[in-house]
Symmetry: C2
Subunit: 132 residues, 2 copies
């Protein structure tokens, strides 16, 4: 039921959806690190890491504190990040339902919706577009 803004939610998830960025975020769950620290833990070049870090900054998933000549990156939204990582780590096994089960579920939903206002039946979108 929780209505979400799919546009911005998708943008947020896109920031997570890259192996290197996930690895960076995972590293940072262990505490703040500067780019060089990351560089020798991860299989990526410095320029590339900086690029990903820039993206993560723009999404406000990380931020940095300048410590003399190095920048120490840290998680700007640690709970969100930790939860996300945990959820994908768990990796629930896919289930498959029989047609029967689905029919039953749908029926139950229809019943519940019986108390709701009725939408008027309208012409299919396909024929509607075809009429132009």
């Amino acid at each position: 039921m929780t209505e979400i803004d799919t546009k911005s939610a998708a943008a947020l998830l896109r920031a997570f959806a890259h192996p290197t960025r996930l690895a960076i975020l995972q590293e940072l769950t262990g505490g703040p690190k500067c780019v060089t620290d990351l560089e020798d833990h991860l299989p990526a070049r410095q320029a590339n890491l900086s690029q990903h870090l820039a993206l993560l900054r723009h999404t406000q998933l990380v931020d940095f504190a300048q410590d003399a000549q190095t920048r120490c990156y840290y998680l700007a939204r640690p709970k969100l990040t930790a939860l996300l990582l945990e959820v994908v780590a768990r990796n629930e096994v896919p289930l498959s339902k029989s047609t029967e089960q689905i029919k039953a579920e749908k029926a139950k939903l229809e019943a519940k919706r019986a108390a709701m206002p009725k939408k008027p039946k309208q012409a299919s979108k396909r024929t509607a577009r075809a009429r132009e």
Copy 2:
């Protein structure tokens, strides 16, 4: 600490990282729906929905049961999907830390790592590559 396979985790998250796909998944948290049901709840054309559904199938986030001429789609990994949606819905507010705080945190981590084996100091990657 939870070591994850960043490659496949990223692939999974990529499937979530699109507004239309998020909307589809959200719809399905309310119970199974056939493509037509989705079509009149979402601002997307049928062909496009089918494309996204195909992708979601390949990632095993959804599956369908054939009910006569219609295909009823349902969530194949409901917990994962619900959790993901919940997490992005919550949308934690980004925090910012002072350089002092970061230094303190780093110091604490260094202390903890003091008991660990020492890595030999090696030439920077840049000069190493430059020597070729």
